[in-house]
């Protein structure tokens, strides 16, 4: 079997062949780890899949990795996270916690050193949806 034939989806990484063989970690896996680590930070409403109609789309927990872009090498990894934060939080603080948490999670689960965690705050989530001014008389 060829090293690239494991069907790991978009970008399986070719591990260096050492004595026992290289270890490949699909970027999808790292994406899920990163997404989970990011969303468990308090103040993060969720991952964002992009912007639709002027509003940042909020992804559910099933496709967290859609809001993550990952580059995984043999020893290092870099991630870009697209997130939506909750209203009222201090964004720099939350982003910093996300960076630390994601770095720690990826490093402990994959052994790759995380060289970069970029956090893209795509939108803000309000506790109850902003509505157009409805009729004043109901």
């Amino acid at each position: 079997m060829q090293p690239g034939d494991l069907g790991y989806g978009d970008a399986p990484q070719h591990g260096k062949h050492e004595t026992l063989g290289g270890i490949k970690i699909a970027s999808e896996v790292v994406g899920v780890i990163a997404g989970l680590a990011a969303t468990e930070v308090e103040g993060i409403a969720g991952m964002s899949g992009g912007i639709a109609g002027g509003i940042a789309e909020l992804l559910g927990r099933r496709n967290l990795s859609k809001g993550v872009k990952v580059e995984v090498g043999e020893k290092e990894a870099a991630v870009d996270l697209f997130v939506v934060v909750n209203y009222g939080v201090r964004i720099p603080d939350v982003a910093w916690k996300v960076q630390q948490n994601v770095k720690r999670a990826i490093e402990s689960m994959t052994g790759r050193e995380v060289v970069e965690v970029n956090v893209h705050v795509q939108g803000v989530n309000f506790p109850h949806e902003e509505k157009q001014e409805g009729p004043r008389v109901r």
Binding site: I51, R90, I91, A95, Q99, V119, H120, R136
Partner: protein, 181 residues
Amino acid sequence: MRAYDRVVVFVSALLLLGTGAVFLAMAFGPNPTRLFTDLFLTGPFQSLRPATIGVAAAAALAGVYLFWLSVRGRGRRKPIIRGTSLGEVRISSLAVESLVRRAAREVHGIQDVDTLVDTSGDNLEIFVSVVVSPDLSIPEVAEQIQTKLSRYIGDTVGVDVSRVSVNVRNVGHEQKPARVV
């Protein structure tokens, strides 16, 4: 629009006007191809040649600037970028705008808010256009918006707010308690 943008637009408009006039004159003049040379390079305005060159250079510069403006046009859509030791934090201007809208709406007497943020500089510049309730002192409300936004946005986004421009677009209807339930 900033002051110097306005100056450039003004100058460009003058130049366009002038160019148009010259072209018209050339088109209807007795000897269209030679008119410009006759007038500006060898003719009565010969002594003004440096000025002619100056105007031409200004026109070219204004053209370049306008071109740059039109290309850059999306500059305010740039995210706010802050570096940390672990990477970058980018806050989209969309996110900042929704924060601004929400925060401004919390000011008493504000009925509707539209907003734009300019993230192109080091600091944040906020423009809000609001509809206020009647019977309120507009300067006071505007000042409350400015204080609230510069403090709140500066704090949540972590970037200094250099200016908050408030445009009171309209005075809304009085918000009476509902007469019917």
